[in-house]
């Protein structure tokens, strides 16, 4: 049930427990226990909401920053990653294979805020060799969901 449960709530974390139990074909108490276990194991890290901020009056700027760093002896990349992800404006940090080491996704209120973060905070870290900042112009799809698309049922009536 674990995988199916995760697949369902990954798409809809607001589904109620009773309904979840029904569609998975298990008892409600089993769902409760499994969710608790998944939370305790850190498999479920939160129940966030996917928001298309573009459609609100709240303007945000997102940037994707490629960061090349010098790994530290005994620490690898973990230490520098931690220094970066502790900033609240940093949304995500990934260790990457290929031409750079860390991918940092940043969300700021203005262009200036983002650029000052890169120039004042990120670039000045000892271990950071270089950065390349890409501003995100438009999000088409996020977390497997196509934004800005409402589709009608286009199936026509047909017999048989």
């Amino acid at each position: 049930m674990r995988e199916e449960l995760l697949t369902v709530i990954e798409k809809n974390s607001r589904i109620d427990l009773k309904e979840l139990a029904v569609i998975l074909g298990v008892q409600e108490v089993d769902v409760v226990n499994e969710l608790a276990a998944l939370e305790a194991e850190g498999v479920i890290c939160g129940y966030h909401t996917l928001i298309d901020w573009e459609k609100t009056s709240n303007e945000k700027v997102s940037a994707l920053i490629e960061v090349r760093v010098t790994p530290q002896r005994g620490q690898g990349f973990d230490n520098v990653a931690e220094r970066i992800y502790r900033y609240p404006e940093v949304r995500s940090v990934y260790l990457m294979s290929g031409g750079y080491d860390l991918m940092v996704i940043l969300e700021g209120k203005t262009l200036r805020e983002v650029s000052s973060f890169v120039s004042d905070k990120l670039s000045t870290l000892d271990t950071v060799l270089s950065t390349a900042t890409h501003f995100i112009l438009k999000k088409y799809k996020d977390h497997g969901t196509v934004l800005s698309q409402v589709r009608e049922d286009e199936r026509e009536m047909i017999t048989p």
Partner: protein, 392 residues
């Protein structure tokens, strides 16, 4: 002027599903639970392969039997699923949907007056196709107490010395019934004893929720006397691509191909290229859709239980077939009032044969959100009917 029409065609009555659809399409904010096709889009990688084939200029006819590569993939698929080997060169025909295969299969095998056994409730095309092929359709009424499976006794009782073909429509539209291995073994004995042929329509074969679908061709002696019909519409959400296939004994396929080549030429080329991709890389998509259907199926079964509405648990296709006999009205009356008063369209069981009286077909090829709204209205309706009945 002379009568321009053929009596045989005029006498065929139009499909019973139609009437409701006509009303629904006129009605504002009506919800339909009547549609018999997947609500999913064809998976993108399959569509992409169709597009790519067009870009490459693959816009010609294929051979009459279909792309060799596709026939080969179909044989691989059947071998993978059922452990049965077909020869792609002589035992497979690609058709325009499973429906064409049903039609030409019957036309290739029937001599005037021979009998075709049609278990009902079932898909509405078998009977008219049998009539058009010159057969005498013989209906076997399936029973709710057998979970609408075909039993050996029912089959035995329907066979005469004119019986030629048994149509085997499982997993079943509209009941959602399946035939498990033991059920098939029981009827296979009767089939062999009377030396009749089988047309096994397994278009919903990928959509079962208990054990994996068993095909009758897996049983000893059955492949030689069975036309296996399947297609891409239901499993891969490819209804609009119009693609199906038939597998069977060489001498039958040869004659079917003859009709196909004169009437149709070949199935759509773009669809055939897309279908190759579906068979090669589509297993995960099928599994994902199956899981979603299964969740909806459980949701509906639970809703009926809570409503106190009698319904056997269906393990296949994407339909449930609840019983409405407690309300003392016909399926047609129930469906008409339900549509008029609650604006939800369902199909009366009688559209699939007289023995569907007292039942409704509800399709769950709809999102859970939509099903929830519809079931809310159904609860409301059922409550009102029960109150009415008490009042009388």
């Amino acid at each position: 002027m002379r009568n321009p029409l053929a009596d045989k065609v005029v006498e065929i009555k139009p499909s019973g599903i139609r009437k409701f659809f006509d009303i629904v399409s006129e009605m504002k904010d009506a919800i339909s639970l009547g549609v018999g096709e997947p609500d999913f889009d064809t998976p993108w990688h399959i569509r992409d392969e169709g597009i790519y084939s067009l870009e490459k200029g693959r816009t010609f006819y294929t051979s009459n039997s279909g792309l060799k590569e596709l026939r080969q993939e179909i044989c691989n698929y059947i071998h993978r699923k059922h452990g049965v080997a077909y020869d792609p060169m002589t035992e497979v025909l690609i058709t325009v949907g499973g429906s064409e295969a049903i039609d030409i299969g019957l036309r290739a095998m029937i001599n005037p007056g021979e009998e075709v056994l049609i278990p009902q409730p079932s898909y509405v095309s078998y009977e008219p196709c049998a009539i058009l092929a010159g057969a005498k359709p013989v209906i076997i009424d399936l029973k709710a107490e057998n979970e609408f499976r075909l039993t050996a006794e029912e089959l035995e009782a329907a066979i005469t010395d004119k019986t030629k073909i048994l149509i085997l429509p499982f997993p079943n539209n509209p009941t959602g019934a399946i035939m498990e291995r033991k059920d098939l073994e029981a009827i296979a004995e009767v089939i062999l004893k009377h030396d009749i042929f089988v047309m096994s329509d397994e278009i919903y074969g990928e959509l079962t929720y208990k054990e994996k679908h068993v095909s009758i061709v897996e049983l000893p002696g059955m492949k030689e006397r069975t036309i296996l019909i399947n297609g891409f519409s239901k499993a891969y959400a490819m209804t609009g691509w119009r693609l199906g296939y038939a597998c069977g004994p060489r001498e039958i396929l040869q004659q079917m191909t003859k009709i196909h080549q004169f009437a149709i030429m070949c199935a759509p080329t773009t669809s055939q290229y897309a279908a190759v991709e579906a068979l090669k890389n589509g297993d995960d998509d099928v599994a994902e859709m199956r899981t979603a259907y299964n969740q909806r199926r459980r949701f509906l079964m639970n809703a009926f239980r809570e409503m106190g509405l009698e319904c056997f648990e269906p393990y296949g296709a994407f339909y449930v077939f609840p019983c409405i006999k407690e309300f003392g009205m016909t399926s047609d009356e129930f469906a008409t009032r339900f549509l008029e008063e609650e604006k939800v369209a369902v199909v009366p069981g009688t559209a699939f044969g007289d023995c569907g009286e007292g039942y409704l077909r509800i399709s769950y090829a709809y999102s859970l959100e939509k099903l929830k709204v519809a079931i809310g209205r159904m609860e409301h309706f059922v409550k009102r009917l029960r109150a009415e009945k008490k009042g009388n």
